[in-house]
């Protein structure tokens, strides 16, 4: 079964297993002797010392050294347009304290051997403008200057040709993992953005009031730089850590947990993004990841630590549906009634632009779906932040042969369930499979689709009991079910969840 966020890749997985086994086998025994320890040391806790303060101090020192600059010059830009004076240190001035270009993760990656300027063009083509303008048309309105390289880092300054609609600098990293590691806007200072434990907090200082439009600040999980909420305020069901929008000059505080975040400040005017600052952070490690100091605990406390339950998943949805959660696991009862779907909801929804493809995907699922904004974690593919009514929906879109396709719709506030398993022994003449349902607070009815191995699409009407149980049983073996889609609605019929699995 193809699932959207834990997609199987037999080739890579097989190579990984073989590689790890082969490399591990290079370690052979016997073990070295244990160190001799005096008996009177037995009462001493022997945990190796940790020196977090040293790490912190060295990190600060590294940041200071970094700002001093590095002399080496590497510039693979094949056609520098003029002599530049911009230095990486200038571009770093508006970035968070401690920003380290040598270790900073890319906020936008590019494959191949593109020059620094080409990488900046691809990045800005995805980040600026609106969803109805092609990236190449957006970039055509910009002028670029690649600056002097500092090691593998090249600053590329840009400005609108009309001179009035925004400018900035894109820090490009060349070599392995090439891409954009940060973007800055003159007059926008991210220096105050910092971590306090697991909370990313700070204030985006804006000293240049002539910047176009209003500023929007998003804090988004690294790897999923979806600008979910676009130019509108975040929805009420936005979950902490998955994205938060602060208006312009307001301070923000987002608990990112263990996920590395990206901070994006966009300046939007007339429905289009005119300038951008963007940088990724490494989330601090959680000290609770350290082994518990069991020696200082009572037996009861120790057992509690060892048996510490993980946070219950989908707490919101579970609370909402709690009165109904007494339903039995679907096993004894029959499979859910299904009907053959007339429309193929699993076709590639296509359009001339990402927005058109997203709207088509909504039509295919029978729900309104409007693209709001987009971000591109990779060159080519685009993550589109859309809305179905009041619900934020993320859609994966990609271009090919001049046409955009959209798939992989998800609702970030939902509790995802992608599990499935056979309810009957393999080879059973009447095989049945349990499919877990995603759900969300308020889900009371819905429609579920799945495609079988013969290419037939089936649909099942869902009621509140199904969402409470979060399981349905369907005919067929697990391996024969290839793709799924789900739309859930609240008691008033409003869409609360949209999900469609990957391209398959």
């Amino acid at each position: 079964m193809t699932v959207p966020f834990d997609r199987k890749d037999p080739e890579v997985e097989g190579r990984l297993r073989a590689l790890l086994t082969e490399r591990a086998s290079t370690i052979t025994g016997p073990p070295p002797a244990l160190p001799e320890i005096a008996v009177d040391e037995l009462a001493v806790a022997a945990r190796p010392p940790r020196h977090r303060w040293v790490v912190a101090a060295v990190t600060v020192a590294a940041g200071v050294l970094l700002l001093g600059g590095i002399a080496a010059v590497v510039d693979d830009d094949p056609a520098p347009q003029q002599v530049r004076t911009t230095q990486p240190a200038d571009a770093l001035a508006n970035l968070p304290d401690g920003f380290d270009p040598l270790t900073a993760p890319a906020v936008f990656q590019v494959q191949g051997n593109a020059s620094a300027t080409d990488i900046a063009k691809r990045y800005l083509g995805r980040r600026l403008g609106d969803l109805d303008t092609r990236p190449e048309d957006i970039v055509a309105e910009l002028e670029f200057d690649a600056g002097a390289a500092d090691g593998a880092i090249v600053p590329v300054t840009w400005r609108h040709r009309n001179g009035a609609s925004g400018s900035g600098t894109v820090l490009v990293k060349l070599g392995k993992g090439r891409g954009v590691i940060a973007a800055t806007t003159p007059g926008v200072d991210l220096g105050d953005v910092h971590y306090e434990q697991s909370v990313l907090t700070g204030h985006v200082a804006r000293t240049d009031q002539a910047l176009p439009g209003r500023a929007l600040v998003d804090v988004l999980p690294f790897g999923d730089p979806f600008a979910t909420f676009g130019h509108a305020p975040p929805p009420a069901n936005a979950t902490a850590g998955y994205g938060s929008t602060a208006k312009g000059d307001q301070a923000f505080a987002v608990d990112t947990g263990e996920m590395d975040p990206i901070v994006t400040v966009r300046f939007a005017a007339d429905g289009a993004v005119r300038a951008i600052s963007e940088v990724a952070f490494h989330a601090p490690d959680d000290p609770s990841n350290d082994p518990p100091d069991l020696a200082n605990l009572t037996d009861e406390e120790r057992q509690q630590v060892l048996d510490e339950p993980l946070p219950p998943p989908c707490a919101t949805a579970a609370t909402d549906l709690d009165p109904l959660l007494t339903h039995a696991f679907p096993g004894g009862e029959g499979t859910a009634p299904r009907t053959r779907a007339a429309d193929d909801v699993f076709r590639e929804s296509q359009g001339d632009t990402p927005a058109a493809a997203v709207a088509q995907l909504g039509d295919d699922l029978g729900v309104p779906l409007e693209a709001v904004t987009s971000a591109a974690p990779m060159d080519g593919d685009v993550a589109v932040g859309a809305r179905s009514g009041d619900v934020a929906v993320l859609v994966h879109a990609w271009p090919h042969d001049g046409v955009w396709s959209a798939a992989e719709a998800t609702t970030p506030a939902a509790c995802w369930s992608l599990g499935a398993g056979n309810l009957t022994p393999l080879g059973d003449p009447h095989p049945r499979t349990r499919l877990e349902l995603s759900t969300i607070a308020g889900a009371r009815s819905g429609q579920f689709w799945y495609r079988d191995e013969d290419g037939a699409t089936w649909t099942i009407a869902l009621d509140a009991d199904d969402f409470a149980r979060r399981n349905i049983a369907v005919d067929g073996e697990y391996d024969t079910i290839k793709r799924t889609a789900l739309v859930a609605r609240d008691a008033d019929g409003r869409v609360v969840l949209v999900q469609k699995t990957s391209r398959g």
């Binding site: 966020f5 834990d6 997609r7 890749d9 890579v12 190579r15 990984l16 590689l19 790890l20 086994t21 490399r23 591990a24 290079t26 370690i27 052979t28 025994g29 073990p31 070295p32 244990l34 160190p35 320890i37 005096a38 008996v39 040391e41 806790a45 022997a46 945990r47 190796p48 060295v58 590294a62 970094l66 590095i70 080496a72 040598l102 270790t103 993760p105 990656q109 494959q111 191949g112 090691g151 070599g175 392995k176 993992g177 790897g223 263990e258 590395d260 959680d286 990841n289 350290d290 082994p291 069991l294 020696a295 605990l297 120790r302 060892l306 946070p311 998943p313 990779m378 995802w416 992608l418």
Partner: protein
């Protein structure tokens, strides 16, 4: 070194037996997470030294040791990040960051993964641990594990298919 000899040196016999049984597996795990045999051996031995001090309080020694090893490799990785910040960003340094002893595209790509993603990949594809056990080791939710692995596989595909 016999059980009797080590016990005389302050090691509980049961822990010595466990050391013999688990050393190889734990060291291989630590090696995959650090890519450095010497460091791996040191981490595993430190884990046993730590366990010795709490031996009477540990209900699940195998699980405790595995957790200790995974956590120690994370600490080591953190330290290496700091070390790398002080190294000049030369092509030589970048090449040194990858393995030259065992040239392999996938191995090098694995070494460049975000640390938590690499941990999740090793625990899944080497130890074949299920999501919930990996989640307990990494102290996160099973859903986070799936996310880490998904992103790791995506990153690896991108690294290998530029």
């Amino acid at each position: 070194m016999t059980t009797e000899e080590t016990a005389a040196h302050g090691w509980p016999p049961a822990l010595v037996d466990l050391y013999r049984e688990e050393w190889l597996g734990l060291t291989r795990l630590a090696f995959l997470l650090t890519r450095d045999r010497a460091v791996a051996e040191e981490i595993v031995q430190d884990a046993f030294v730590a366990a010795r001090g709490r031996w009477n309080a540990i209900a699940n020694p195998g699980g405790y040791l595995r957790t200790s090893v995974v956590n120690a490799t994370r600490d080591w990785g953190r330290h290496q990040q700091v070390v790398r910040r002080h190294e000049p960003s030369t092509p030589e340094a970048l090449r040194a960051a990858t393995s030259e002893d065992h040239p392999d595209e996938l191995w090098d790509a694995l070494s460049r993964l975000d640390e938590r993603r690499r941990q999740a990949v090793v625990l899944r594809f080497y130890l074949d641990l299920p999501d919930d056990e990996i989640a307990q080791l990494l102290r996160c939710r099973p859903g986070t594990v799936r996310t880490l692995i998904h992103r790791a596989l995506r990153d690896l595909r991108r690294e290998m298919n530029p």
